[in-house]
Structures are given as C-alpha cells and as structure tokens.
Symmetry: C2
Subunit: 480 residues, 2 copies
C-alpha cells in the first residue's frame, strides 16, 4: 500500500497497486462516484464505491466537504473524464460536513460570486478557482527566489517597522505599543513618543528600497521580497493596504542594465509558471473564457490567458523615451478624437492607465518600457539626466494592466541628491544613513519594484487584486 | 575582456584573460596591492598595480572604502595568501572615500565592537563578519523555500495586519491610520475605531498559524515565511520586536509526522548551507575561535561551529516525553546540587533554557524533541491527549540555544476546542472562521514554528540576535 497525494496518483501507471489517499469530498454521484481533492492539484480523483459492499449509514456521510480516507486499487477508468480511478476497498469518514451547514457556505456546490467567496476567505481556497490561484501564487514566489539566487543576488529582509517617514511613497500606517485611549503626554499636552516602544514615532514600511540600496552597496546585488503597506483609501480592484513587493537593487548597474534585468526576470518567472502550473493555468484560462461569454462582445478580452503570457514572453520589450511616448500619444487617434479621459496636451503630463494600455495594446503591440521621465513627477532619489529636467526612471507597461514595474537608476552624486532633497524639503537628518552611502565609495546603481499581487493578477487573469492574496486588507476590511 | 564578479575570478583558470571588475577597496598596501571586495564572496581579490604606470594623484585616491573599476590580466599569484591575482592595466576611481571621514566610521581598518557596528547598520554589511552572516542568511532562506517546494508544500502569505487578537502568543503592536494626537471619539469619550482605516482595532501579527491552518485544510500542506512581531520589552540577545518566522502546517499529519518533518527540514537546510556557504562558514568559525581565545577557559564553547552543525546533522533527534524529561532533570546532579537557577521539583514545571541545554548537551548528547507537555503551559489549539492533562505539543532543543522549534498536533475536535476556549475565556466570535474549519471536514493536522533568526544565529554562531538581521528592531531602537 502506498500513501500518496492525488497529483501523484493521477500521473501514476502503477495499475492494480493499492493506494491510500486522504482528502475532501467535492461530489458524490449516483451513490457510486466520489470526486475527491486534496489540494495537491486542481484535478479530482475519482473513487468508485460498490455500494453493496459498504454500510448505508457510512455512505450517507460521504457529503460535500467531508474529509475522508480511501484505500483502493488503481485501475484505468472507463469514463472519458479521467484516465485513472480508484476502486475503493476501504472508506473512512475522518471529518463530517453537515449538508445543512454546508449549504450556508461557499463549499456548497453551486456558483458563488467572488464577493461572496471573499467573505469566506477561510474556506475559499477549497474552491477550484482559489486553489488554482494560490498554487500559482506559490510557484510564482518560488520562481522569484530561484531567479535571483541563480543569478547570485542576496536576499535581504528590510525592516517592516520603520522610524523614517521620508520615503514619500505614500500614506503610512502608524505602529505603536501605546494604549491609544490614554498615551503618555508631555508637559505641552502633545504625545510623548519617547515613551513609546521604540522611543519615537514609527510606521509600516512603504518600500524597502532605501535600505536595500545600503545593502547593494556592500553585497553588490540584492533583492527584497516582503510585505509593504499603504494607508490610502483606494477602494479599487488594483489596490491593497498590505501587499508583497519585490525590489532588486544592483551596484555598478545603469538604467540599461536595469531594463535588461527586469525583462529577463519577468520572462524567467512567466516561463517557470507556464512549465510548472499547466493544469491550474488551463483551468484559469477556461474560467476567463466562460466569464467572457456572459459579457458583451466589446468588453471581452482581446487575448486569452495563454496568449497574454506569450505576448510578454515571446516579444522583446520596446524601449521608448517618455518624450517619444508623449509625441505618439499626442498624435494618436483617441487623443485627437478626445476618446481618452485625460487628453494629452503637453510634455510633462503624468500618464494614465489608458495611455499606457494604448501604447502597449494598440501602438507597439508588445510590452513597453518607458524611460527618462520628467523629474518633477518622479521620486527624489532618481538620477538626474544631463538635460536637467528628466530622470533615469523607467516603467514597464503590460497589456491589460498598464504599469507593472517602476524603477530607476539612483542618484549616486551626493551634492545633486542633497540639493534635490532641499528642494523637496526632505530632512537630511532623517536620511543621514542614506546620504552616507554616497560619501563612502558611491557608485552607479539601479533597481526596481514590482508589486507581487499585480504579477499574480497578470498570470492568473483575476480581475480583482483581492482575489490573488489569501486574506486581503482593504479599507474597512481586516477580517480573519 | 570579461566583466566578472570576484567570486568567479577567484575560481577561474583563464590565465592571461582580461577581466573587468568593480568593487570597493578593503586595503592598499605598499602603493602596490589593492585588496578589493564586491560582496560576491568573503574573499578579496588582490589587484597588483605597478605605481610607475599610474598617476600619483589617482593612486592617492585608492583609499579604504572607495569604489573602483579595475581592468587587468589574471595571473597566478606569487604570494601565499591567494591563488590568483589581477595585474592591473586600467584603474578608475568610481566613488571616493575621504580617509578623514572614513576614520569616523566602522569602515576604518581596525577592530570595532559589535555594538558599534549596530549603530552603523547601513555600513556594517561591508565588513567581513556581516557580509558573511548576510550571505549565509540569504542562502538559508532559499534553502527553506527549496525544501518545502521540493516537497510540494504551497507557500502562503498570511496577513501581517490582523483584526484578531485572540492568538495569545504575546503582546501585540497596534496599527492605526488615526492621528493619535486626536483620534475620533464616540459619545462616551472612547475612541471610535469604526472610523479607523479598517473599521476596527488592528494589530501586527504574532503568528500566521491559525490562518495557515485554514489553508492546510484545503491545499493539504502549506508553509509561511514572513515577518512576525512582539511588543515585549525584552532587551536580551535572543529577542527581537520584529523577526521572520517559518510555519509549516500539514493536513492528515499527526505529531509523529510533525517531528519527522521538522527533523528532515532542519537537516536539509543545514546541509544546504554547509555545501553552499563553505567560505563564509569557515570565516565565521575562525571568528568564533578567535573570540574564544579572549575568554576564560570555562566560558569557551565545547564545540566549534562545524562540530555544532554536524552535531545536529549527524545525530538522530532523541524523542523524549515531557514526563520522562522531568524525571531525568529531577534526578540530575545540577538539580540535586541546586546548581540550576530554577530547581525542578514537580511535574508541571515550565522548562528553562538551562534545563533544555542540560538535556541536549550533558544527558543525551544529541538534539532532543520533547513532547506531550502539560496542557496548562501550552496554547489553546493544541490537541488534548487521552490522559486529559497533556497535549500533543513538541519542542526541539539544540545545543547552545535550547528551544529552536515549537509545534503541535492541533485540536481538530470542535467540541474539545470550544470547551478549551471557554475555559480560557477566548471569545468564539473572534475566531468564528477558525472554528468553522472544524465543522467542514475537520481532520488530524499538525505544524510548527521556527524563528528564522534563531536558526541564523545557530548556523553563524553569532551570539546576539541583533547581528543576524539587517536592521534589528528592539526596545528603543527603530533606526534606519
């Protein structure tokens, strides 16, 4: 007898071998066919029971959601739905699932809306869609680590709780050990943060980049992969208050090298999941096709899921300067016909998702890297070009979603960095350690950030970012 | 000309090949020998300059900490310290390091205390010790992912911000988007958390276990690897307020399976770093030997670093019940002679580090797994044994540090779990979702937690946990 996972059994050719398998009942047809799943694969194992050999009371307990143990023989299946099946010799109920209670949950065998599934995030991974998404997410995260480790990057855990609030990447959550009802006060009535746990005000990080830079300037090439936070009241399908970010940072690397790295990295991880998540991606592609059928023609996707992944994998990313892109957009049909919500008029405009998607999907028909953005719409640490008005920033634009990567060459010149910080009123005292890296063997270096959930959305085709992270945190929602 | 990392060049046999390499100056002897490091390895590359061929002003700028570019030819070295060296043809200063400023930092070439290094955590990775520790940390984290992925575990990101405070694993940090000076109040004067970002009080997670359980009961076997937090005012060499935790969770797995998993996992990751971090571990071992020399004989380590790693790798972990362990301790010499700070008198006592180390280092002389602890010193979710007074908990004990893993089989029986929660006054409403997993196909399942920094401490031999994480967070310290 072999104890096995369903993924192994479905691939097995050991006919007449006895297997023991444990999992959950997905369906039980005709008092004869149990479809069983154990999470190892999207596919169910068909277990065939001869009801004459089993106690009636036992078979009654084979209900949707119940945990069972099956021991039986592997045989070729006569049905067309599966290659193999298990002829059941022993059947044991490990954990019941009362059908009356199951009816009230998303485990019940009918279509549930994604909204409803979100309310039961503790159970939704037991559905086909979320099982598939979460297995793909796991593989994708391993692809991230594998890529960087194979290329001799060092993984670095930058701090989650941070005392510096000068990064300017967005609104921050505050962290405190105080009783907020009654924090200690100073004589002037203001809160005495010296008495807080860390002896100062602290926040949740919005990016590990500045800390990662200090490590790149010692270890050479590093990457982060950890949670980051935004306290922004954005109730959209693209925003989370808590999300995972990947931030490589490379010493002695300029913007061109940064673009090469990002393109190579993205292609590696897509290739990895295409090779390692075939069944899950096939299911997710079919899911999208079914979803599209219920939509009017003009709202359906131009590409199916595999086509979209290969669109990125098989094309060179087109590298276009911001200035060129503005010219293209200004002269584009939708701009002239005022079809864009934001009509592009002048150099300096911040691009919206509609413009980014036009460039990718209509104009270039390939992934696009825009670079050399106007300095005043980008962050303080980006390297100023000789023209004095653009910085060595880059954004990578994808079909369907627009920006997926934002990066830059960093300003390595101490004096230029200092004057930029002065201009933007960023306190040098807050970032003394960041400035010191420019004093002691500074060098050209670059990096980028990629929001992991955006990548999972792209790979799985899920429309709402809340559906690609196990327990999403959004305004008014921190359940579980 | 080949652009290369120092790690590659030091392994190369391409003599007379031209290499270009960029890095930082570690020393410059006799106006001739530059020791250069780029973070790819603990070892420096010796670059030999013929000062007659170079501008004197240029050579003056080759100072400790400066970033340089070297182009030269690989030759066999005549010195005994290195196999190969670079005969320099071109030398370029990329970033200066003013010696007067460097003198004030830990980059200056003299011995600095670990305390001093901590104050300059943005620079310390450029020292031998911290370069080695952080490279080992990176490899170790990849070993963790590799082990679980090879064994078909799914990585799951449990939430960092949590609305549930019932886990009882320790003091929590509060998270808020309020202006703490002036939060909105209800009519009765208390704070109106409904108006906070998440519409309720939220904290930083102390463990992802409960959420991971919900995923194990769908995907079969999962693991977390993410940051966790404790707002405990523990100013010790073993505690951090922010640390990374690994928590596997496996459905249909009992405590014996859990012990097997933990032992197999630990041996895999130790083997991985022994194979992949040879140079760094050799350096760290030598560092400890040097440190020991300055200590009195009775404070020196019994084992050197490699011996300690092999002590764990080459021994079977001895499995001993808590009850047996108490008998051994009660009858032990240090207990009878009252050498323990806490003398063991009765069954039920909580073990201290001194007892754990006695069992491992003196009595069994191998790693030890203690199991079946008294219920009342363990958490509510651990499975109650038939004796009604012990639970299926396990702790793994290591030489030098005591407990490194804590785990258990989980209480899968809804009624037993409910009565335990009632007993401990844990609100069922808070954990409705956790209880539901016991209603719908509950099953035997187990898991454990391993504090990643404790593991890095064990592998690197670093005595203070603040020295194995890039930017440690401890009471009164959230700098950088």
């Amino acid at each position: 007898m072999i104890q096995a996972k369903i993924a192994e059994i479905l691939d097995s050719n050991q006919f007449l071998q006895e297997f023991e398998v444990k999992g959950w009942v997905r369906s039980f047809r005709s008092n004869r066919f149990i479809a069983m799943n154990d999470g190892s694969t999207i596919n169910n194992l068909q277990c065939v029971v001869d009801f004459e050999n089993f106690n009636e009371e036992l078979l009654k307990r084979v209900t949707v959601g119940a945990a069972i143990r099956v021991l039986g023989t592997l045989i070729e299946s006569e049905g067309s739905q599966q290659r193999v099946e298990i002829e059941v010799k022993e059947l044991e109920i490990l954990g019941d699932a009362n059908p009356e209670d199951v009816k009230l949950t998303i485990l019940s065998p009918k279509r549930h809306s994604l909204e409803k599934l979100r309310e039961q995030a503790h159970l939704r991974v037991r559905t086909n869609t979320f099982g598939a998404v979460m297995r793909v997410r796991s593989k994708l995260s391993f692809a991230v680590h594998s890529y960087f480790q194979q290329n001799n990057f060092h993984y670095v855990n930058t701090p989650i709780i941070t005392g510096s609030d000068a990064e300017g990447a967005g609104e921050m959550f505050k962290v405190t050990a105080f009783d907020i009802e009654n924090p200690p006060k100073k004589e002037d009535g203001s809160i005495d943060y010296k008495k807080d746990f860390f002896g100062k005000e602290t926040n949740l990080t919005v990016s590990g980049q500045l800390e990662a830079e200090t490590y790149a300037l010692g270890l050479g090439q590093v990457y982060t992969f950890g949670p980051t936070f935004r306290a922004e009241n954005s109730n959209t399908s693209r925003h989370l208050a808590e999300f995972w970010m990947i931030e490589p940072e490379v010493a002695f690397c300029d913007l061109d090298g940064n673009m090469d790295l990002a393109e190579d990295f993205i292609k590696y991880v897509l290739k990895y999941v295409l090779e390692n998540c075939k069944d899950d991606l096939a299911f997710l592609e079919q899911r999208l096709l079914n979803e599209d059928k219920s939509k009017p023609q003009n709202e359906r996707s131009d590409m199916n899921l595999m086509e979209k992944l290969h669109f990125v994998l098989d094309n060179n990313f087109k590298r276009v300067s911001y200035t060129e892109a503005i010219e293209i957009l200004k002269n584009s049909k939708p701009n002239k016909k005022k079809k864009f919500n934001y009509v592009i008029e002048d150099w300096g405009a911040d691009l919206q998702s509609e413009h980014e998607r036009f460039l990718v999907e209509k104009h270039f028909k390939c992934p696009v890297i825009l670079f050399d953005y106007p300095a005043n719409i980008k962050a303080f640490y980006m390297r100023l070009n000789e023209d004095g008005k653009t910085v060595r920033a880059m954004d990578i634009l994808f079909p369907g979603i627009g920006e997926i990567v934002g990066g830059s060459q960093r300003e390595e010149r101490l004096d230029v960095l200092q004057s930029k910080m002065k201009e933007l009123d960023i306190d040098e005292k807050e970032l003394w350690w960041y400035l010191e890296t420019r004093k002691f063997g500074t060098c050209v270096h670059s990096g980028f950030g990629l929001g992991f959930e955006r990548l999972v959305q792209f790979v799985t085709g899920m429309g709402n970012i809340r559906d690609v992270i196990p327990f999403p945190r959004t305004p008014q929602n921190a359940e579980f």
